[in-house]
Symmetry: D2
Subunit: 283 residues, 4 copies
């Protein structure tokens, strides 16, 4: 890709690494919202929104772009970056993650939103999520992964990749699922499979990926107290916390693992998908 | 599962192994259409269609059930088994593969068709297909798989499992695909990916899984004459045969590999899916 | 194995887990040197040395048995356990790790030493060491192992198993070695290999397993400042620390990883080897 | 390596591929003993021994160089190539496999023998041997490797690599061995291990690598008649053939697999080791 001008507005360490990686690829980078990010001051020159508005072809907002629907997420800045500013950008291709439907650009601006929080980003993010889940297991187990019995509930993106990673590290892995199609897939991968209902047994770690409370009192009371549950499902997660606490079972709610443990990889993934969108849409 | 009465009508070695495996599980087996199958006469007692009609709860037809729409496939018998006979079966659960839509049971019979040629069977069959593809490669290469450069065109069921098998055997594998989703998946599996258009390079073997003629004269003339193409796609396959012959490129059209090389595994897979249907449908 | 009487004298968490695991196998356990170990008081009843001397068939000392050659290592106790006490034990099979040659039992006691720090224990310990090395990498990298370029210097027990683990996690791995035999082995494993002299390149992590200072100023000045070096070699390790510090290269000296991160696995490994010795020696 | 002059004398398809590969690397090749090799006449110009003697720096003899101790093995030629001719070569580095100790060069010739049948070649050859063993299994089984239960007796070079290959293809693998060291290694690889004496169980295939008759009548009578035994051990192999025949157990004696199935890979391996010797010996 020939050299382009990118403006990065807000975000956390992932966006910092994204900026760095874009620069390494030969692009011009302007960045805002990183005044308090100390480590890499040589690289980060904080620009103003209007600088960026004037000098960039592509704008990149974080993932998600906002928590409150008002300001762009910018943990490394004390200044607020109001989303309304973006609405006025002219002739821009604006990338962001999880852009709310109700956020509209003024038609007269000739700018357009491109949401990079799509299927391929979620698949790619499943790798740092799976490695992050392994870190959480390492922190809470006194035995190796390679000698552990693991249960993975749910066989979607994260379930598939986590099962594979654990198996490759030597663990004994069982996965739970519903569809006959997924049962067939696990069989082709030499991964033991069962339904959630029949999954109760002695495990060292349970990794949950299902975002509904399936681990209720009845299930929890049947598992060993030494089992660690690592809940990877988005809030409220899959575990009845009150019952778990009552029963003395340790639950770790582990969210946002790519950004938490692997901001560089997470930034590279965002870059990969932005490049893909640019190619697909011929931007 | 408690002991049931199965009637197996027609089919090839896969059905023979299916029958044997069902018997080993404790079921009662009656079989027809295997008069000329010599090897295992101790096991095979050929029954008549009416025996089977009277004594079985479940009927199993082959995959596919018929080539001509008139008779059940039965390569081990000289007698014809007319499909019309099946239409009259009463109170039967009739399993078969690729049952034609137009084949109807008389409503008065209280019998019902269950087609086992479904997604999960196709996924499970991708494993013997992939191993069969490796056999075809072994037959045509003078080097090991582990030292070969392989291209797999298409990343569906067979493409995914074949890529994995080849990689696990140590080959350098590149896969071609279209969707950004599949690109992301291959990346998580550490498999090199590209589009078909950009795939031209020196390979020892190309495995095609795409059932449209993508390997045309223009593509073929660019690849090395020593490349072997193994076409796994159903007829007409993916290769312009006339151009390939003109250019001196060897093409092997490899179909029906599970039944050809691994009838026992293929029979076990059919059994697995029939059991799954019985469980799901509560038959 | 039929139920035996084991006396465990001193040691850290590994010995605690060893005791627990022996108990689970049905053996009688007496333990000393764990007064300050709080968590598992239910299990740990601290016995006296004379209790143990009277009631055990097998005595187990830690790995290594002593740091100073005078007392048994016992970090969970304030009392000293003098090695001389052990010399008087009668009719005992005494297991320990790295028993000093000069430590002799009185011939009249009819007791005998069995050192479990042998080749098979070292091989088995290479797995928790490799997983521990991965933990150290996780702590110091901002990218996934699966996207990292790793160098492993030395291809002995730890080198072999670590290369495999990293490769299975998706990393790009290069190993260094000297012998043509090891070059051949890496080739069969699809691991890139080179000599140490030719290994300089951009790596995210370097894992050293060679216990002589090979990473001198000349080598270090050629590698990227962002490279993390994890030194797994016993003291003094393989890195010229002063040069590394001067050059701003981060070095982590990571020793005793099995006991540090995976005491349960480490305890199981000691048990495995003790059982093996009992079987081999017919004790 | 700069361009050199190689003379290839005798040998089978492996030497043909070796010659081709050396030529591709830019070396000058003269070859003799391939008059009846039809396929590749364009490449093969048969030279005379005296041509080669005059024009080559390096001479390459086959592996093994001779069956009868009198003539060089040359299956593609009707002419005999007497070993005595080689003894007179002057100023040559003469490579060959399994050079008999009693074969001596005249000291006055200033020529020297280099035997490439050394440890690293044997390790590298274990890969085509293992893939060849898989071909033999494919030929004799009616089920996939991925669904097979396999026993590998002996855990040397071939045993290790074959276990790995079978495991990577999805098979359930058990290996037999004696030393506690090897038991530890299999454990780190997640391969089930046992002693030969305790290995009797239902297997689909047994691969033997031990060159002494361990499969005697007593062992054989305990295994299933449907088990296939693939004997990879050099003559007389590891199986009491008379007992096996009496018991109706199928035994395949599979020798020379690299040359038989993968002459190109086998030729590349010989080249790799010759290059290594040239580098080590500074030839």
């Amino acid at each position: 890709m020939i050299s382009k001008k990118f403006g990065i507005i807000g975000g956390d360490m992932r966006q910092y690494h994204l900026a760095k990686s874009l620069k390494k690829d030969g692009h011009k980078i302007q960045i805002t919202g990183f005044e308090n990010y100390k480590t890499a001051t040589d690289f980060i020159v904080n620009h103003t929104i209007s600088d960026i508005s004037e000098n960039s072809d592509y704008i990149i907002l974080p993932l998600p772009i906002s928590h409150d629907g008002i300001n762009v997420i910018s943990p490394f800045s004390e200044k607020k970056i109001n989303l309304d500013l973006i609405k006025n950008f002219e002739n821009k291709k604006i990338f962001g993650g999880s852009i709310p439907d109700k956020l509209n650009l003024k038609p007269s601006t000739n700018s357009k939103f491109y949401d990079f929080y799509r299927e391929d980003l979620m698949i790619l993010n499943a790798v740092p999520t799976a490695e992050g889940a392994v870190i959480e297991a390492f922190k809470n187990l006194d035995k190796t992964i390679g000698s552990s019995k693991c249960l993975v509930t749910g066989y979607g993106r994260i379930g598939k990749i986590l099962c594979n990673l654990l198996k490759n590290m030597g663990a004994k892995v069982t996965a739970t699922m519903r569809s006959s199609k997924d049962f067939a897939w696990t069989q082709t991968q030499n991964i033991k499979s069962t339904t959630f209902e029949n999954s109760v047994a002695e495990y060292d770690v349970i990794f949950n990926t299902i975002p509904t409370i399936i681990f209720d009192y009845n299930y929890l009371k049947k598992i060993s107290k030494s089992t660690i549950i690592i809940d990877l499902a988005s809030k409220p997660g899959g575990i009845d916390r009150i019952s778990a606490e009552k029963l003395g079972i340790k639950v770790i709610h582990a969210l946002g693992l790519p950004g938490k443990y692997f901001p560089k990889t997470a930034g590279e993934i965002i870059k990969t998908v932005i490049y893909k969108i640019i190619e697909e849409e011929n931007l």
